[in-house]
């Protein structure tokens, strides 16, 4: 088998930066392989991707040393457009890549640039649209496709160039679990065709599919090897800011032999070696704060988008109580964001009612709503405008007409909560994505709303940043705020949410304590969701735990079969 890519002592420093983004990269990638590239944000993953088709150093200028050879061609000597015959690059932001008025023209764009004859273009459109499963969407406008479909189209349009090396930079971050699966299955098909696939991803589960895993840290490749070698090295993974596979973590903590990477492998190991005995799951019968007064209440809530005449919500009945930590789950397009935008009155019900403290949201003024329900949008860049962090965070208070002294105090408090003390004078645009996300949260917090709604707060953050964000939300929740999180990340919902609701096609499919919701794997599958591997293992074992820590505690409490019932469990046997 031939070598597809060779890095020879590659270093690169962006023009405006002092610190190198890539340092002495060495290594080879072979044909017909899948390589997954992992690392913390800012580790240099995207930069490395861009060196393969020459965007670095041709589009992004800077100091470039060493060589990159793709199929024997030295990349830096070629134009990006020439390299596109060998290397296909799918960028992280797929919305920005689609610009044609219909799907077939989007597919035709690359082959047109390569001056292929029309029958050949026709042939490729047909071939690769079926490959990514969009053959029936040929005449559709890309903007009207779902998130997963758009991403598949972005991939298809690059595949139509028939590259020998395909590079995908975080192709699944904005996608629901089914969309992820769709995209990753393309990866498997591609390997059979004999090309090299380089994939950047945060999730250890993606790493499992690879032939090779490369770990990056601070511009260096710190490890290369098979998933079985790399993904079991917990301290190495943590030092690179990657979420370790929880099943491996559990086995290590428990001192059990074997390092299973999946829930399935873990169960078979447990059975084989008789490590623990599964029992029946006893779920808590009620929510922790079921008695609290309801803050938000939806009654027969329906919403129809006026331009498309699509009924996004089809009669939602929901009551959210003070102090809850609620996770809203569901596929792309299931109505999560539409529902959440009713919570602060951004959208008004087509029929039914949305009550905030018992009063319809339509009765409140904009100012009153902003004080009661804060809403953090998915992309912090949609709201950041000020010259300093202080001005940005104080903006809400200023428009609400607070006294400058008061604003100063509240801004300081809010920044402390999000862990950005001392950032007052910094320019928000120069901060990292994780920090900008925190500034956005702080700017909502400063107004001190009782309820905080966050749309995908962990998207685009690496594992350490995700942990930080969620720990911060937990602290807010414990100090009395009601927190509502829309998320695709199953482990985030499992570890942090006290309650979860699952939406499907504008209806509530499941609603209850997170533990109970996640134990119903059959219903979750109907919404194309499935619990994270640790929770699946926990479901099988019949434990309450949804984190490694709790699971270890729980399993240690039942060392012998005579003492199988958890003495701490105060759940009623009959309710």
């Amino acid at each position: 088998m031939g070598v597809a890519v060779t890095f020879e002592d590659l270093s690169f420093t962006y023009r405006q930066n002092n610190r190198p983004s890539l340092r002495n990269i060495q290594g080879q990638m072979e044909e017909a392989r899948t390589v997954v590239l992992m690392g913390h944000s800012g580790a240099g993953k995207s930069t490395l991707c861009c060196t393969l088709n020459g965007l670095v150093p041709r589009f992004f200028r800077g100091q470039y040393e060493g060589r990159v050879l793709v199929k024997g061609e030295e990349v830096a000597r070629r134009k990006v457009a020439e390299m596109s015959r060998i290397v296909g690059l799918v960028l992280q932001d797929f919305e920005a890549q689609l610009f044609s008025t219909n799907v077939e023209l989007e597919m035709a764009f690359g082959p047109e640039n390569h001056c292929l004859p029309r029958p050949e273009i026709e042939h490729r459109i047909h071939r690769y649209l079926s490959f990514v499963g969009l053959e029936r969407m040929r005449q559709r406008e890309p903007a009207t496709l779902s998130g997963g479909q758009k991403q598949r189209l972005a991939i298809g349009s690059v595949l139509a160039l028939e590259p020998k090396v395909l590079v995908m930079d975080e192709p699944t971050t904005d996608l629901d679990p089914q969309g992820r699966e769709e995209v990753l299955s393309i990866a498997d098909d591609l390997r059979e065709e004999g090309g090299l696939l380089l994939l950047v991803d945060h999730e250890p589960e993606t790493g499992l599919r690879a032939d090779q895993v490369w770990l990056m840290r601070d511009g260096q490749v710190v490890a290369q090897g098979t998933p079985a070698e790399i993904l079991v090295n917990l301290s190495l993974l943590k030092s690179c800011g990657i979420k370790p596979p929880p099943t491996v973590e559990l086995f290590e903590e428990m001192g059990w032999p074997g390092r299973p990477l999946t829930a399935e492998k873990a169960t078979s190991l447990i059975i084989e070696q008789n490590l623990a005995r599964p029992r029946k799951l006893k779920a808590p019968a009620s929510l922790p704060n079921a008695g609290g007064p309801p803050v938000l209440m939806a009654e027969g809530l329906r919403y129809v988008y006026p331009t498309y005449q699509i009924e996004a919500l089809q009669g939602i009945d929901l009551s959210i109580r003070e102090g809850e930590f609620l996770a809203i789950l569901g596929q792309n397009g299931s109505g999560k964001t539409t529902l959440a935008k009713h919570f602060n009155g951004l959208l008004k019900p087509t029929s039914g009612r949305m009550l905030i403290h018992g009063r319809p949201s339509t009765d409140y003024s904009r100012r009153e709503l902003a004080k009661r329900v804060g809403y953090v949008f998915q992309n912090p860049d949609h709201q950041i405008f000020a010259r300093t962090v202080k001005e940005e965070v104080g903006f809400g208070l200023k428009v609400l007409g607070e006294h400058p002294k008061m604003i100063e105090k509240r801004v300081a408090e809010a920044l402390e909560v999000v862990g950005l003390q001392g950032y007052e004078g910094k320019v928000p645009f120069t901060l990292t994505k994780g920090e900008r996300q925190r500034v956005a949260v702080a700017s909502v917090l400063a107004v001190q709303p009782e309820v905080i709604v966050l749309d995908e707060p962990t998207t685009g953050l690496d594992y350490a940043q995700q942990r930080n964000m969620m720990e911060m939300l937990r602290r807010l929740n414990r100090s009395g705020h009601t927190v509502i999180v829309i998320t695709h990340s199953m482990w985030v919902a499992a570890e942090y949410g006290t309650r979860a609701i699952v939406l499907k096609d504008g209806n509530i499919l499941l609603d209850g304590p997170t533990r109970v919701v996640f134990s119903d794997e059959a219903q979750l599958a109907r919404a194309s969701l499935h619990p994270p591997s640790l929770v699946r293992l926990s479901n099988w074992l019949g434990t309450q735990a949804m984190t490694v820590q709790k699971m270890v505690e729980e399993l240690r409490e039942i060392p012998n079969p005579n003492n199988r019932i958890n003495p701490n469990c105060q759940c009623p046997t009959s309710s």
Binding site: L91, Q97, L105, G110, C115, L346, Q383, F385, G396, L400
Partner: protein, 264 residues
């Protein structure tokens, strides 16, 4: 909201070569300039309506109905005050309205509305890419044509981002519905800055994506929607040119369709 006018209907007008449609639109504009009498002008307007009907583009006319009505009314009311005719109808102080100027005003209103209507038919039946391809075939350099069509494509993208930005700022308590003019201008900044940053980032990413897919403005490329002149294209152009020649002859040779001599 969809700001694009293209309607995917597949009528014979949709299948015409984009060049035919662009030149045809130009000829129709010229025909509109031939007459300034509302009866003759009205006949042309009806003809354009008939074309719109067979292109099944009437939905778009409905969408811009207010603009069309405004153009006709405004022109009918305003022109009589500026164009001076010979047969007085009504006067008040120094303001005078003559029969000719009233007719002229109506004709001008119809002419403007017909201009708009012709443009709408073109956009309802021609894709952005087809227009670009047509312009290239007519001799416009590819980079210019491509920049034009990309700029058009980015409008809805930025409109979508702008809507999200407004919502994000409203959620923070920004009240866009009240306040003096000065304070409203102040409120513009929290919307404009994020949009500006978004636009820069987006276009940068787009440029990366284009290069990665082998786009090179200097080198030749194939067009998947290859414009092709067929018999019907030539027929359409001959027919429209014929109407133009006859109209010009009627106006200049026979002196027909004139409400106010000496004006277009």
């Amino acid at each position: 909201m969809n700001i694009f006018l293209y309607l995917d209907k597949g009528t014979w007008i949709h299948h015409l070569d984009p060049r035919t449609k662009m030149i045809g639109t130009l000829i129709l504009f010229l025909i509109c300039l031939c007459f300034n009498h509302p009866l003759y002008m009205g006949g042309i307007s009806l003809g354009v309506m008939a074309i719109a009907l067979s292109a099944r583009a009437l939905f778009n006319f409905w969408r811009v109905r207010y603009i069309l009505i405004l153009l006709i009314t405004f022109s009918t009311v305003m022109w009589p005050f500026f164009a001076e005719g010979t047969t007085p109808l009504w006067s008040w102080g120094s303001l005078r309205i003559s029969e000719e100027s009233l007719l002229y005003g109506i004709a001008m209103g119809l002419r403007l509305a017909t201009f708009v209507a012709t443009g709408i038919i073109l956009l309802s039946t021609t894709r952005n890419e087809e227009l670009t391809n047509g312009l290239i075939r007519l001799g416009l350099p590819y980079p210019v044509a491509f920049a034009l069509s990309t700029a058009l494509r980015l409008v809805p993208t930025f409109a979508g981002a702008a809507a999200t930005i407004v919502q994000a700022q409203i959620s923070r308590g920004l009240d866009l519905e009240s306040g003096s003019l000065i304070s409203r201008i102040g409120k513009f900044i929290p919307q404009a800055v994020p949009l500006f940053v978004y636009a820069i980032r987006h276009t940068n990413l787009l440029a990366m994506a284009l290069e990665s897919k082998g786009f090179d403005p200097e080198s030749p490329r194939t067009l998947y929607y290859e414009p092709r002149m067929r018999k019907i294209d030539y027929l359409t152009l001959i027919l429209l040119s014929g109407v133009l020649v006859i109209s010009t002859y009627m106006r200049l040779g026979l002196g027909l369709g004139i409400a106010m001599p000496g004006r277009m």
